[in-house]
Amino acid sequence: MTKRLQLRRVLALAVFVCAAFAGLGYRLVDLQVLRHDELAKLAQDNTQREFRQAPRRGDILDARGNLLATSVPVKTVCADPSLIGNQQAIVAHALAPLLQMNEAQLYQKLFPRVSKDEKGETVTNNLHYVRLQKNVTDETWQKVQQAMSQTSFGVDEKKLPESGRVFFRNLRQYAIFADPDQMRVYPNGSLAGQVLGFSGVDEFKLDDRPVSQISGRDGIELALNSALGGVAGWRVTETDRQQHELVALRDEDVQPHDGLNVVLTIDAAVQNILESSLADAMQKHTPASITGIVMRPSTGEILAMVTLPNYDPNKPDTISPDTRNRVITDVVEPGSTFKIVVVSGALNEGVVRLNDQFDCEQGHFAYAGRVLHDHEPFGMLTTEGIITKSSNIGAAKIGIKLGQDKLYDYASDFGFGQRTGISLPGEVGGILHPVKDWTKVSVAQIPMGQGVAVTRLQMLMAMAALANDGWLMRPMLVSCLEDRNGNVVQKYEPQRVRQVVSDSADKEMIEALKTVVSPDGTAAGAAMKNYTVAGKTGTAQKVENGVYVHDKYVASFIGFFPADNPQLCISIVMDEPKEGYYGGQVCGPVFRDVAERCASYLNIPPDSPAPLVANAGNPH
């Protein structure tokens, strides 16, 4: 009897245990097999996180390795409003002065908010993440942490129950946190601001969190954005409740590929010389704008490029359409500087020689129903004299002799009517109409720099071609791309575009250009003490509402030195100068100032024999 009872009990127990195991087995199969995908995803979402690893944006350096633009690490300070409870006022009061924010605005931000997304669905992301301030330095962030740990919330936390203590611990430690970020800094302020350009911040969402990324908006920052930007990496890892990474459980870890450093041909010291000289000229002549470029004619390397007014890329409020890089974005009628095109073309074609005489009609020359004028009456002038005195009528007669097809060809070969290909955004090609669109007077007007529109850079490149044995070069602004360790990834070499005029014609043209800075020329003020200068002045009337106005001019001087072994080619252009308006008068002295300072800095050997050793004194 007892045995049977025992057997029954054992059997019942066995059935119960089997049933229990069957139940557990079913549950196991349910969890591990039937709902595996769903539960695995849930588990993964609970613990696994994917972090974006932002690449460091590359630096921009000058030709001597000086830092022109760089990225510095900063913090983006954020809050988790769900951990702040009803302590918004105290937190806002403690943090507002540190974060340089309005206390009332900060107070509002600290409340949990429910918002709607693009689809109109309610989202609660703001419960856990709200951005308070960007570009916060490490020092400030440490002060914020200190403030959060030391602020009194008006209660004795030790006397609170466990839940209260946990709340205040979370509030102090986790309610305010910081995400790593970077900020673009331009250590030289406004120096080369328009060349460097400026950057902005692009924002996108990753895992419902806003992610910011620096991206170029203008200048080199925009033109080489992809090289500077780099490629982001990522890390798949697990986190604890406070979102701290559990390094031991790190899965994928792909490091970011930092952006490349861009090495420019710009020399910060030459840029500073040009900017300071132009700033002085700006004060003296108060033009609407003034531009300057310094270039090596043999390579096309641009050592300095300035437009005033300029901007400081560190201060976005200083950026406006008025501070654009007019060297490449604006076109003007070049005026007399364009005479180099027609005269060098005519010399190259053998149509004229340097000593050929032209009757300059005492300043009035009727042609194709129009009367052309000179700035003063001239009689007979040689070709060289036409350049020296900048005679419009002489240039027009050379243009007529050269013919419109050849004139167009030379203008086109010198690069007018097309972009130079400089690595800056916003360059325009200027206006050079095809011959079929010319009027009868065009062949006489274009040689004196009317009826064409050019950029300052195009005009400089044309003059630089004459300084380079007739070879037109492509302007160079970027020397190479480097990785962070300074290894050159890509090197850019000088590029010849074409030979526009022959060596012999070029030399004759240079002889003529040398006379421009002589006492008889139009730019005696551009002559340097120890160097022979060759150059050309330009004074163009501005056009308003389709007619030339008589009180607004664009004055320019473009020259190079030493004339027989050119090292630098410099362009100075003033838009609507006061206190004089002739190119030689207002731009010539600025050219001389820039050229002498650059020659001293770059140690260019003088070519004028005059006072070399006699006045040198003892170098020791």
Partner: protein, 128 residues
């Protein structure tokens, strides 16, 4: 029989005991090894985390120093400092620079022709 039993008990005493001991040590060793390994993983992960943080701090510090250096080398800053300190510095004028001719890389003898050299050294003239 008794002798056999005695012999059997003697063999049982060491063999299985050693095996059991070995098994126990193996299990205990594995357990300790597992715990040690986990502990090492945790310790090393903490170390990696600290090293990464330190590396980040040093890289950040380096960046700040680079910017500081760039500030100090900035032509604008240098100009400003020269003016502030009234140093009266100015670039040398070309007339103040005394240029010396570069000395010739070759000794004066090299100006002589190969034939002259050979004659001076008493050797035969160089021929093709």
């Amino acid at each position: 029989m008794a002798g056999n039993l005695k012999n059997q008990s003697a063999t049982i005493r060491f063999g299985p005991a050693l095996k059991a001991l070995f098994l126990c040590m193996l299990i205990a060793g594995s357990a300790i090894g597992y715990v040690w390994q986990k502990n090492e993983i945790y310790r090393l992960s903490q170390q990696i985390r600290q090293d990464e943080l330190r590396l980040k701090q040093m890289a950040d510090g380096n960046e700040k120093l680079r910017v500081k250096l760039a500030d100090l080398r900035s032509p604008l800053m240098l100009d400003q400092r020269v003016r502030e300190l009234n140093l009266g510095l100015a670039p040398a004028q070309p007339v103040q620079v005394w240029r010396l001719p570069e000395p010739s890389a070759l000794p004066p003898e090299s100006n002589l022709s190969a034939r002259q050299l050979a004659a001076r050294q008493g050797g035969a003239p160089l021929t093709q």
